[in-house]
Symmetry: C2
DNA sequence: CTGTTAGCGCGTTCAG
DNA sequence: CTGAACGCGCTAACAG
């Protein structure tokens, strides 16, 4: 491991001068530069980032905290986040909290230990208070951690309303609704509006709450099976991609026809919701835009360039598939 | 940001002593310790990891390079890798190479710049030669980069044989086979054996090669549509989860029945292959074991504890679904 | 048992 | 235009 000192020695100059050519800072005579560049390539010198980090007190790493990478929404989000960060010269360190508050806290602590310059968090096992009282370089996905911490999220309220409108126009009368997100998460808005709108129009909503923080596949199957057994005569289902698709799978297996006997609307609209047959109607979050907004925001916080709004809410989009009959949306409800 | 010096000053001792209590190294009198601990908590002191990193010349970070996080196999792999690394005190920095050799090279360079202590790579845009001539702290997933770099992979040859055996016992005569992995990847073994075995028994194999490095969803649909159009009378399909499921989707849409008219076997066997209806028969890789093996190996390389085998090949497992008729496997082909 | 000191490798003054 | 010297925060060796 050649160091800057070796380069200086080999080129017969001082370390300061070498530093200057590496960073392109300050003036340096053309032939001195030549000599140094030669020495650098001879020694295959690469600057030690660790020393730079110490000096600058920054690492260029952003921690990305999510409940579980093996979940289509979060893996897509993480992917897009990494791309967005990379474009701006940052790298992503990831943490699956997998429901463990210790892991979440552990990664959060890296902020204080200067291991990461900032954090984007979509995890929610910790109480929000643990997030405040820190350097303010945290951006929350879909969660309100109070006025200190900017949040980025989707317009879930509108998403819930859209889903309700389609159920209504498809003449559903008894609709299963699987919920199961952490208590203080913005995504809950969709549940509230969805139920409210349907009930207002005399539609029965059959609720099933999944334990939150369960992101493993089996729990989706369990929830779906329970719902199917509990409400065998339901004519509609609204849930996140995975529980909804599990439900559809079991319903098809039980001989129900989609959309004739059962209307299915899923939330998130990831790839998995297109690949199943029939393709389902979905309320889609704009994952890429969410990720870019998070990345941009946390970097603005770090570099203190542009101010970051406290709430940034992005639109959701309806994708009509074959699991409901096509309807015209006019937002008149 | 309080530093160790502040703590020493506040406690009225030298920095060395503070360092000793923080690291639990060497002797320190009980009451001196008390004073120091008090000062630490008063100042809310946390050691600056950057300085430690510089001293130790290590970061505790492992780079995880994969083609695309938004792919069920790789997101599951990355998830398990992060968990396995964390358990051993390491953190994961991720890189989607998204088919760009520049990005791959960029992250690879972090090894030289000491930003990461080691690398696990499942990416394959770079020529293998770029991987050699480096510190030997690289582990390759499913790729042979020569004798210098240990590899971890699945027994794809057996996987291909299993798939062929099922096709044969299901009396298939014309089987579509979608391939499309990078040239030097071990996963290709399955393709070779699959075709070989079928042809030996007089079954026609209808090949379709996808451009490798395409991990976006659309390319799966395109490949599936092309195959369906080109070989409308095929009675079997073998491909990775996603292209196979796209194919099944389109076939169902076109009125084919599964498994009556079409047998489907997918490779990888991720969650997505269970959620579609009917559940498909799949050759499953043991993602968790793969990840743990990679994590353990790269750490052994770094810490130079146990020797790391050059090739570690893990078993694949058959999961029979409803997309083929159940068969008894006896490995007699 | 404890304080002092010399690096770790680099970037930046600040005189020359 | 350039070299020497200092400091980033911490650890380990070494006297006391």
């Amino acid at each position: 491991m050649a160091s800057i000192k070796d380069v200086a020695q080999k080129a017969g100059v001082g370390v300061g001068t070498v530093s200057r050519v590496i960073n392109g800072s300050g003036y340096v005579a053309a032939d001195t530069r030549k000599k140094i560049e030669q020495a650098i390539s001879d020694l295959e010198y690469t600057p030690n980032e660790l020393a730079r980090n110490l000096f600058r007190n920054r690492t260029g790493i952003i921690g990305v905290l999510i409940p579980d990478l093996d979940h289509p929404f979060f893996s897509a989000f993480t992917r897009e986040t990494e791309v967005a960060l990379y474009k701006r010269g940052y790298k992503a360190m990831i943490c699956n909290t997998v429901g463990s508050s210790n892991r979440e806290r552990d990664y959060l602590n890296m902020l204080d230990r200067n291991m990461v310059d900032g954090i984007i968090t979509g995890a929610h096992t910790l109480h929000w208070k643990e997030y405040v009282n820190r350097k303010r370089t945290i951006v929350a996905l879909d969660q309100d951690f109070g006025p200190e911490i900017p949040m980025v999220g989707s317009d879930h309220a509108y998403g819930g309303k859209l889903a309700a409108e389609i159920m209504l126009k498809n003449n559903c009368k008894r609709v299963v609704h699987i919920t199961g997100i952490a208590p203080n998460v913005a995504a809950n808005d969709r549940h509230i509006i969805f139920e409210e709108t349907l009930k207002k129009h005399g539609v029965e909503v059959l609720d099933l709450t999944m334990e939150w923080n369960l992101f493993d596949h089996q729990s989706y199957w369990d929830a779906a099976a329970e719902a199917l057994e509990k409400y065998p005569d339901a004519d509609g289902i609204f849930a996140a991609d995975q529980p909804a698709l599990c439900y559809m799978h079991l319903a098809l297996k039980a001989g129900k026809r989609v959309p004739e006997d059962l209307k299915v609307i899923t939330y998130d609209g990831m790839d998995v919701s297109r690949i199943c047959y029939p393709e389902v109607t979905a309320i889609c979050q704009n994952v890429k835009f969410l990720a870019e907004t998070c990345a941009k925001s946390v970097i603005n916080l770090i570099e203190d360039k542009e101010p970051v709004p406290h709430r940034q809410i992005l639109s959701v989009e309806l994708r009509q598939g074959q699991s409901t009959y096509p309807v015209e949306i006019n937002d008149e409800l």
